[in-house]
Symmetry: C2
Subunit: 215 residues, 2 copies
């Protein structure tokens, strides 16, 4: 997928160069969790990586360029979010399990990639097309999968025809993403993870199947 790593001026990077490049990405990732995106300066990233700003520019056009690369890696990883939904039955007990697994996977993924996801959300909200695409890539896979599930249940007569599968799936995914990115907010607010997860799973199940889960 990723071809040869090249410096900005076109040279092919060797071992040493790639290591430096990677170190810059790692340091940037780390900094994103501790300070707001806008406050991250090239100089700070470079210094943290034990190198100089000029070196940074050998590998990235600017901070945003480096951030996008981190984000794309994360998005590729996020494609796996739907694995848990493949060939699952949403009828009976296994439906409840599917809902729980989806919620678990979603919240975990979000927590693992909290910092970069916040930046992606920010960029997307500000109207940056590239961040918007990355965000879509992650959410679409889940949304599409859920849309298909609803449509299938509808064709079997298990869900009202009048429900818009796409609207339902989209709303649920938007909810998961919103709650996931405010997990801390919920906690501060007195809602424990242990309450949050089953509640989200309940809503997902209600939304997808139209009925309460069989536990």
């Amino acid at each position: 997928m990723t071809g040869q790593v090249r410096t900005v001026d076109g040279r092919v990077a060797g071992r040493r160069g790639q290591a430096t490049r990677q170190k810059l990405l790692d340091c940037l990732s780390e900094m994103l969790s501790s300070s707001p995106y806008r406050d991250v300066k090239v100089i700070d990233v470079a210094r943290k990586a034990g190198t100089s700003p000029a070196t940074f520019y050998q590998y990235f056009p600017d901070v945003e360029g480096a951030v996008l690369e981190i984000a794309e890696q994360m998005a590729a990883d996020g494609a796996g979010l739907t694995d848990v939904l493949a060939n699952r039955s949403w009828v009976g007990k296994s439906g409840w399990q599917a809902a729980q697994d989806l919620v678990d996977g979603f919240l975990d993924f979000w927590r693992r990639n909290e910092a970069i996801l916040r930046v992606v959300d920010l960029g997307a909200a500000e109207g940056d097309k590239r961040f918007y695409k990355i965000r879509m890539k992650i959410l679409n896979s889940v949304t599409n999968s859920l849309t298909d599930t609803v449509k299938e249940l509808q064709s079997k007569g298990k869900v009202d025809k009048e429900v818009s599968a796409a609207a339902m799936a989209g709303s649920l995914v938007a909810m998961l993403a919103a709650v996931a990115s405010h997990q801390k907010g919920f906690q501060t607010w007195g809602v424990k993870q242990a309450e949050l997860k089953p509640n989200l799973a309940l809503l997902v199940h209600l939304g997808i199947t139209g009925r309460k889960p069989t536990k």
Copy 2:
């Protein structure tokens, strides 16, 4: 509530001054809908208002200060979001109506204040306490109201005791806020408002009452 309007150096502003101040706020508001928050410069706001940057600093410490004032006005307005829920029954047909009204009110409010809400979300996401508080002020009123509703239904035995009222209300409100701020996204994606609203109302109703609405 708002006391006398004063300039930064402590003088009381007269009619003319207040008008200028308001014009600056209006222009800023307008600019927020067309360009990303971070790209709004004092100079541009001032020029758009037909005045000079030095004047801007007579009334506001910086752009953020002015933005916060716009946001606080909006938040005060948003307190009315719960009016629609006061003394409503969630049983039977009126429950379905309540869910619809809530969704309508929410989406409309969000659309009316799209630009400033995006900035508030952004600031809050970046960890700015003041924006976070404003966001909370708006969402809390709705969340609290819904939490009370669920608890009431629980005490009447109409909703399972095991449901966490706070988690449920919080999740639903997070969903509404998320969907509202991505309304355009849904449209681009092929989901029409006409499908979105009933779907959200359905989810709200399912979440609050645990059962399908009687239409």
